[in-house]
């Protein structure tokens, strides 16, 4: 466990090395990036083997940082952070593999990439709200450069929109944190200290603070109607960055809701619950319906991401252990599956066909031209539809069961979303890959010879599929980490409706 902080340091060191080495050789930068991603993931996995689930956060490092304000460099972890750290390592490794063909300024690309990863690791390990915030910002900034420099369609706009949304969200979070700190007279920014300070606030103030925090984080989790950054950003981003955005960055928001917003003001959830459930379910169905009529392949996946993240918010908002466990599992599951979908669409298809328009793709016999990509996309699509055997099934099931306990009505709405998911996924599969037969003379003319799917792409795809399958077949692997963590006093205060 004590090795975990090294994930952060390794990533930042790797970023620096990649920048330096990249100036001379792109291959070196790639190698450094892969080694760094694997090494930090390895650290997580080693730590995970020695991990005993417990209803508390285990402190890894705790050193005073800005003593006059009571700010500590405090890193800690529990089962929930561990799940997300495993996901981060996985997404980072797959991301590097799917960026193997980046030729322009390779070193810089991987430097930003690894900085982002380091920030994400930092967020998942922070136990001090201020530190959390700092890492959160570190994770946001590189996104802008990655998209603006290496992105595609409308990249400046996408990058700007994404970063402005992220900053707007974090401004709300910062305001709320400072409010609690100042008005509650907190002695520091530790989560426990802030919780105590928030308890001294009046009820209206508590409700307002909770709203700011939850909203601020939920923006990054893609909550309706603050989700529009996500599809635009995903589309503009280079493949690996789309994978990271959907895979881990959206989870930062959801994790913030769970780790910071909910426990800081435990009894505010009951008040805001109807609004959260409503927005979550509307988001699930709304984004699903919009995905149904998109003509850009990546927009389909982008909106499906928003729809699936709605399940996470539903699980968090339902306020019971089952739904919350399901939400954490769904974070993992969506991270893997959305990553895979973006990898197919962005890397395997777009970089070969140079079009993402479904109307164009259906003119190509893609299942014959890129059979591997077709198989991977079908598998990812099935996983995304929540087919049993893949990780999405136990996650969405747990959320539905938990949500039913809170409100059968909204559970019903969410189940409707599962239905819509089948519709847009099958449409995407049919139109994109199985649109046309190459026996057709017109299509035969357009019979391009695409560069074959490369080894790093195959490796990345196998990695993500395996992760989804393993968790789907044996969800207890992760549930056994998640549920004990939710038994901690901080979470119990929330999940039992405010009584500690």
């Amino acid at each position: 466990m004590n090795l975990l902080p090294w994930t952060i340091y390794l990533s930042f060191a790797g970023a620096l090395l990649a920048l330096v080495a990249g100036a001379r050789s792109a291959a070196a930068a790639r190698g450094i990036a892969l080694v760094t991603a694997l090494a930090s993931w390895g650290v997580v996995l080693v730590a995970a083997t020695g991990f005993t689930p417990a209803p508390k956060m285990v402190t890894l490092v705790d050193a005073p940082w800005i003593e006059s304000l009571g700010i500590h460099y405090h890193l800690a972890a529990d089962g929930i952070s561990l799940v997300l750290l495993v996901l981060t390592g996985l997404a980072a490794t797959a991301g590097v593999l799917f960026s193997w063909n980046i030729k322009e300024r390779t070193g810089e690309f991987f430097a930003y990439f690894l900085t982002l990863i380091g920030g994400v690791y930092g967020v998942f390990l922070s136990a001090d709200a201020f530190l959390f915030f700092v890492f959160y910002e570190i994770a946001i900034v590189p996104k802008y450069f990655l998209i603006a420099n290496w992105g595609s369609t409308n990249r400046e706009y996408g990058a700007m929109k994404l970063v402005l949304y992220s900053f707007a969200g974090s401004a709300l979070v910062l305001a709320a944190l400072l409010w609690i700190y100042a008005a509650g007279g907190a002695s520091g920014f530790g989560l426990g200290e802030l919780t105590a300070a928030a308890a001294t606030l009046g009820r209206p103030e508590q409700l307002a603070v909770f709203a700011l925090l939850f909203l601020g984080f939920a923006v990054l989790a893609g909550m309706f109607p603050f989700h529009t950054w996500a599809p635009t950003g995903h589309v503009a981003a280079p493949t690996a960055v789309s994978m990271l955005l959907a895979g881990v960055v959206m989870k930062l928001g959801a994790y913030g809701c769970l780790r910071v917003a909910l426990p800081l003001v435990p009894d505010a959830l009951a008040f805001w619950q109807p609004a959260i459930l409503a927005l979550a379910v509307i988001g699930i169905v709304y984004a699903g319906l919009i995905a149904l009529v998109q003509d850009d392949f990546k927009f389909v996946i982008g909106y499906s991401s928003v729809s699936h993240m709605g399940f996470v918010l539903l699980g968090l908002g339902a306020g019971n252990v089952r739904a919350a466990s399901g939400a954490v599992l769904q974070m993992f599951s969506h991270g893997v599956i959305a990553g895979l979908l973006f990898a197919v669409v962005g890397r395997m298809v777009y970089e070969r066909t140079h079009t993402r328009k479904l109307a164009d793709l259906r003119q190509l016999p893609l299942h014959k031209l890129l059979p591997f990509a077709a198989v991977v996309f079908v598998i990812a699509g099935l996983a995304s539809m929540g087919l049993p055997g893949f990780s999405g099934f136990p996650a969405e099931l747990a959320i539905l069961i938990g949500a039913w306990q809170t409100s059968p009505f909204w559970a019903l709405g969410a189940a409707l979303g599962v239905l819509v998911a089948a519709a847009f996924t099958l449409r995407a599969i049919q139109v994109s890959f199985f649109g046309k037969d190459d026996r057709d003379p017109v299509a035969a003319d357009a019979h391009h010879h695409y560069e074959p799917i490369s080894v790093p792409e195959k490796a990345g795809a196998f990695l993500l599929i395996a992760a989804s399958l393993v968790v789907g077949l044996k969800p207890d692997l992760l549930f056994d980490w998640i549920t004990p963590a939710l038994q901690s006093p901080a979470f119990q205060a929330v999940l039992k409706g405010g009584t500690p």
């Binding site: 252990v321 599962v418 207890d476």
Partner: protein, 612 residues
């Protein structure tokens, strides 16, 4: 015995995995492996049935605090019967496919799909709790999707596969909610525990019934099944006639303890309506497989109605009264599985022989060209219309008996459907086999190889014998003992009289001809039946194209124009305007700044002096 049950479940999974990983391009090896596994399944299923002892076992799959889900096996006579049906029909279809699919370039994928199907279907049969059943329920839907989609180059096949999956998902939506509701109300979803203790609520069985409505293609979710005929014919025989579509009825029998009188009334009427509606639709079909598909729908309606009839008059749903419904439904399920699989494989033989001609008006005269197919198909026809001493006669009588006892309106409808069944089946039989060939294809028709005729013979034998429950010895006693037995000859006489009416009408009306006699003699009736058949598809197409699509387009418009455009970009524009204004003030001229400075001083002074 537990090991046998686990083996029978995992063998087809192993086969599917091996085919998917290694044998995708080795069609012959894949076919051999899948068929060998199917033979093993049939053998083990029979061993399990002979052994007969009920047993159960389970292991935890996931745990969330005090909530846990398990995977387990519940083996009793009901499961044994279903397992044997799946095993035997499965084996016949595999063997038949060896010949039928011999020239298909994607044989590997086809047999892999069959193996996945066998795995998922056996999972449904053996599941000891509703969650596990749901898991395999979804997998069975997936394998059905891939097999319908086998000829995915055909747009119609791809559309049919998508439609089948989504329509089934609609049913599963209710099924899943029913399972969740059942869990919250009863605290368990284990079938055995539910049998011991449960709360009566009409909502739960009805929600669960939604799953059966989807999978067993009852009104109003029946639309996927006729389209599913786009799949290879052996698949239609196995999945869309004998086993998967019967899973809905099997599931109902599994949860019969949860039923309430109100729920049973609904189920009864849904089944009755489907039986009648589908029989009416079958009359106008020209495609041999479509006729059989509507006939399947109709027969599934019989089974569902039989289940619902079991105890509609009971005050409180009690197992003893309900059981009559279970017995009759499962009995008909069994006989139907054999004779319908027989007819589908027979139609496959015909289609194969006629070089993929499926229009019955372009066939004719096959009696002489394909004698074995003719004889076995005739047995199938006689069995389904209820000819005495064949399997369908006994099982249909049991259902009519239940109907007469419990609900005369249902009896009238089902009785009328007996006439229709005889009418459309005899029509099909005359047009396909009698007279002279009416097309080039049928003139050169030929019998398939042994792999295609052997399954036909086996199924034909079963279509005769499956109705004699005493032949089974003590096998499946737990189910057979539930079949209602009537005293006297009233029901058989009524049933046969009705059947003869339909048979005679078809015999008189249809001669082997290239045109539909009904369409010529009574175009009004023919048109009305066609419109009736199209009504649901039209309604759904209207919903999908005009309502859902437009609603989604509207949302997309709101998203792109209002939310992303006006609000987000508008907000950005406002900030931009403010920035422009501020920039305009910074003109870089010292004079201007001095004026601004003076204005500021004046304002400060005014503020200090209390002007504001």
């Amino acid at each position: 015995m537990l090991q046998h049950a686990i083996l029978v479940l995992l063998l087809p999974l192993a086969s599917a995995a091996i085919i998917a990983l290694f044998l995708r391009r080795a069609g012959g090896a894949a076919a051999g492996l899948a068929t060998a596994v199917a033979a093993a399944i049939a053998a083990i299923a029979i061993i399990l049935a002979i052994h007969g002892e009920p047993f159960s076992a389970s292991m935890e799959w996931l745990r969330l605090g005090d909530f846990s889900l398990s995977l387990g096996i519940k083996f009793d006579d009901l499961a044994a019967l279903m397992l044997c049906i799946v095993g035997i029909v499965g084996l016949c279809v595999h063997v038949f496919s060896l010949g039928y699919m011999h020239d298909d370039p994607c044989r590997g994928r086809y047999f892999g799909g069959l193996s996945i199907f066998m795995f998922s279907m056996i999972g449904i049969v053996l599941a000891d709790n509703l969650f596990m059943m749901f898991i395999f329920w979804e997998l069975v839907g997936f394998s059905s999707y891939t097999l319908i989609n086998h000829f995915h180059e055909k747009q119609s096949a791809a559309d049919a596969a998508k439609k089948a999956f989504i329509v089934n998902r609609v049913g599963d939506f209710g099924f899943l909610l029913g399972i969740v509701a059942c869990y919250w109300l009863n605290g368990t979803v284990n079938l055995t525990e539910l049998g011991d203790k449960h709360v009566f609520s009409t909502m739960i069985p009805l929600l669960l019934f939604c799953g059966a409505v989807g999978k067993s293609a009852q009104l109003p979710l029946h639309v996927w099944l006729p389209d599913a005929m786009e799949g290879p014919t052996p698949v239609s025989a196995l999945i869309h006639a004998a086993t998967m579509v019967a899973a809905g009825i099997y599931m109902l029998c599994r949860i019969n303890v949860l039923m309430t009188p109100d729920a049973l009334t609904v189920i009864m009427w849904v089944g009755t309506a489907t039986a009648l509606y589908a029989a009416l639709c079958a009359i106008t079909q020209r495609d041999i497989k479509k006729v059989l598909a509507y006939s399947t729908l109709s027969q599934l309606g019989y089974m569902v109605a039989a289940f619902g009839l079991g105890s509609t008059h009971a005050e409180e749903a009690g197992a003893a009264v309900l059981a009559a419904g279970v017995g009759a439904a499962m009995f008909h399920l069994t006989t139907h599985a054999f004779f319908k699989a027989l007819m589908f494989l027979g139609s496959g033989s015909v289609i194969h022989g006629c070089h993929h001609e499926q229009d019955i008006f372009k066939m004719g005269g096959l009696k002489a060209k394909m004698p074995l197919t003719f004889i076995t198909f005739t047995i199938g026809v006689l069995a389904i219309i209820g000819m005495p001493f064949l399997a369908g006669f006994f099982s249909k009588d049991a259902i009519l008996h239940l109907a007469l006892e419990n609900n005369h309106a249902v009896f009238a409808v089902l009785g009328f459907t007996v006439i229709l069944t005889a009418f459309y089946m005899v029509r099909l039989w005359i047009l396909v086999f009698l007279g002279t060939p009416r097309s080039e294809e049928s003139a050169h028709a030929h019998e398939g190889g042994w792999s295609m005729t052997l399954p036909l013979v086996l199924l034909a034998v079963l279509s005769v014998l499956a109705g004699y429950t005493s032949l089974y010895g003590h096998l499946f006693d737990g189910v057979w003992s539930l079949i209602p037995h009537e005293e006297g000859l009233l029901i058989p006489l009524i049933g046969d009289a009705l059947m003869l009416v339909g048979l005679t009408a078809a015999w008189v009306l249809y001669k082997p001809a290239a045109d539909d006699a009904l369409a010529q003699k009574s175009p009004g009736l023919f048109g009305a039946l066609g419109a009736l058949k199209a009504s649901f598809d039209k309604l759904y197409d209207y919903y999908v194209a005009k309502v859902q699509q437009r609603f989604a387009m509207l949302l997309n418009f709101l998203e792109q124009v209002i939310l992303s455009g006006l609000i987000v970009r508008g907000g950005a524009g406002l900030a931009g305007l403010f920035g422009l204004g501020a920039r305009a003030a910074h003109v870089g001229s010292l004079h201007a700044y001095v004026y601004w400075f003076l204005a500021g001083v004046a304002l400060l002074w005014a503020y200090a002096a209390g002007v504001f």
